[in-house]
C-alpha cells in the first residue's frame, strides 16, 4: 500500500498544548511548519459529524494573532488591506486580505477592532512570518506598533458551542457572529470560525488555556477535533484554504470574494493592489471559483486537472475530499467562465482515469451562523 500523503513530522514546531493532544491519543502530522493533531481516536468522520451536531474543540494555535495599536493603526490597516478600518465599529470583525500590487491574495485574515486605536489581526500559520514582515514594511511611516502575540488559540464550533461556553461561565456568548472582544487581560474572543457552524475562537495565555480545556472537555457535548475534520468542515462550508483555493496568483475577483471589499473602499482605492483590483473588476473574472460534486463516490483531490468532454483543459481542482455531512465527495476549484454555471458537466483527470463531475453551488452544507 502506498499513500500520497507525507506525514513527516521532523523539524516541526510543537503546539504549547501538545502534551494534552498526546494524552488524548491524537495522531500528528505536519501542516504549515507545525506538528498538528490530525485526528483523535474518534476518527475524522465522527469528529466532523460531532462538530455539526454538538461542539468540536480545535487547537488552532498554529495561527498567528497580531495586536496592531496606535494613532496610525487604522490608517495602516486601511493601506495594507482593502478595508475601511476607521469606520469599523469597535467589536466588529471583518474578513479581509493582504493583497500584492497585482491584487494577488498574500493571505486572508480576520481583523477585529478592539478599541479606538487597537485592532486584532488573525493570520494563517503558513503565512505568519511573511505577513509580519509585510505588515512591518507597510507600517513604516505610520504611528503604530505591531505585536505578534504568544497565545494558545482555541476554536469551539457547533450548535452547542455557545451554550457550552455559557455553562462554563464565560462571558461573550451574547456576541453576534463576526464580533470580538477581550473578556480578560491577555484574552481575545470572537464569534467566528472555519466550519460553517456557529462558534467562537479564543486566544489566551497557556496557563488559562489548560484550565479552559479541562473545563470544556468535562462537558460531554465537547470532543477534540483534529485538522482533518477541520479541513472537511471548511470545504463543505465552501470556505477557502490559503495556499490552495486562494494564492498570490489568484485575485479576489476570480475567487468570488469581492463581497469582502466594500464599495466605498473600492472607490477610495487607498489599499495596496487597488489599481489592479479595480481594473479586474471592470474586466470581470477570467475564471471562477466553484463547487464541484463528483458523480460517483470517488473523491477528487487538489491539483487534478479539469477537462471538458473533448479533453480540453478548462480548470483545476484546488481542494477535494469527502463531505461527511453532505454524504458524498466534495471539491472546489477554478473553471473557465463557460463552465461556471451550476450543473455544468466536466471531468477530473485522476491517475489516467476521468471522473465525471458537475459544478455545484457553494456551500455544500448551509451555514448556521448566529446573526444575533
Amino acid at each position: 500500500m502506498g499513500a500520497d500523503e507525507n506525514n513527516n513530522t521532523e523539524n516541526l514546531k510543537s503546539l504549547p498544548l501538545e502534551d494534552l493532544h498526546k494524552a488524548a491519543n491524537a495522531r500528528f502530522g505536519g501542516f504549515a511548519g507545525w506538528s498538528m493533531p490530525i485526528t483523535y481516536p474518534l476518527g475524522v468522520m465522527k469528529e466532523h459529524l460531532h462538530t455539526r451536531e454538538l461542539a468540536g474543540l480545535f487547537d488552532i494555535s498554529h495561527m498567528q494573532l497580531f495586536d496592531v495599536s496606535g494613532a496610525g493603526a487604522a490608517a495602516l490597516l486601511s493601506r495594507a488591506c482593502p478595508l475601511d478600518a476607521a469606520s469599523l465599529p469597535v467589536g466588529q470583525s471583518k474578513y479581509t486580505f493582504f493583497l500584492d500590487e497585482k491584487a494577488g491574495i498574500l493571505d486572508d485574515l480576520i481583523v477585529t477592532r478592539l478599541g479606538e486605536d487597537r485592532f486584532m489581526v488573525v493570520a494563517n500559520a503558513g503565512n505568519a512570518a511573511a505577513d509580519e514582515a509585510h505588515l512591518r514594511a507597510v507600517a513604516k511611516g505610520y504611528d503604530c506598533r505591531i505585536d505578534a502575540l504568544d497565545r494558545v488559540f482555541l476554536a469551539i464550533q457547533g450548535p452547542e458551542a455557545a451554550d457550552v461556553l455559557h455553562t462554563a461561565g464565560l462571558a461573550g456568548t451574547e456576541l453576534p457572529f463576526m464580533n470580538g472582544f477581550e473578556p480578560r487581560p491577555g484574552w481575545f474572543m470572537s464569534r467566528s470560525g472555519y466550519t460553517g457552524e456557529d462558534g467562537f475562537e479564543i486566544g489566551l495565555p497557556e496557563a488559562d488555556a489548560r484550565e479552559l480545556v479541562t473545563t470544556l472537555l468535562a462537558d460531554e457535548r465537547v470532543e477534540w477535533v483534529g485538522l482533518a475534520a477541520r479541513d472537511s468542515l471548511r470545504l463543505e462550508a465552501g470556505l477557502c484554504l490559503h495556499g490552495h483555493d486562494i494564492t498570490p496568483e489568484i485575485d479576489p475577483v476570480d475567487a468570488g470574494l469581492t463581497w469582502a471589499i466594500p464599495k466605498p473602499v473600492r472607490e477610495k482605492a487607498g489599499f495596496i493592489g487597488a489599481k489592479a483590483l479595480l481594473d479586474k473588476i471592470t474586466k470581470g473574472p477570467t475564471r471562477k471559483r466553484v463547487g464541484l460534486k463528483p458523480d460517483s463516490r470517488q473523491p477528487v483531490r487538489s491539483d487534478s486537472i479539469l477537462v471538458d468532454i473533448n479533453g480540453n483543459a478548462v480548470g483545476v481542482v484546488t481542494s477535494g475530499g469527502f463531505g461527511p455531512s453532505a454524504g458524498f465527495p466534495v471539491a472546489m476549484g477554478y473553471i473557465g467562465k463557460d463552465f461556471a454555471p451550476i450543473g455544468s458537466h466536466v471531468f477530473a483527470e485522476v491517475r489516467g482515469n476521468r471522473i465525471a463531475l458537475h459544478v455545484h453551488s457553494l456551500p455544500f452544507t448551509p451555514h448556521r451562523y448566529h446573526k444575533g
Binding site: 500500500m1 499513500a3 476518527g43 466532523h48 470517488q298 473523491p299 475530499g321 469527502f322
Partner: protein, 122 residues
Amino acid sequence: MASTYFTEDHEWVRVEDGVATVGITDHAQDQLGDLVFVQLPEIGQSLSKGDPAVVVESVKAASDVYAPVDGEVTEVNEAAATDPALVNSSATGDGWLWKMKLSDTNQLAGLLDEAGYNAIIG
C-alpha cells in the same frame, strides 16, 4: 490449511488451495482513517507483483493497494466497495478486497510472516 502472509506495503495475503485472498492490515486501515471509497480490480484481470490493484480513499487521501504476487483476479469483495467502512471495521475479515489464483506459489516465500510484519510496524 490456510497460511497467512504479509507485505511491507501493509497487505495481508491468506492462501488456500492456490487462491490468495488479499486485504489491507488493521494497522493500515488505522493509519488511513475512515475510508470512503474502494475501487476494486476486474475479475479476470491479470496482475503482476507490485501492480496497483485497488485504490482506497480516506477522507483525506488516496492510496494504492498493490498485488503482492502474480496471478489472476477470481473474485472481488463488492461489499467493501458498497460500504468502505467495512474495511475499517474488519480489515482482515469481512473487509477483504480481492481473491487471485496464484501463478507461482514460490513467490510466497518472499513475503513476511506475522512476526516479521509486526517487527516492521513496531
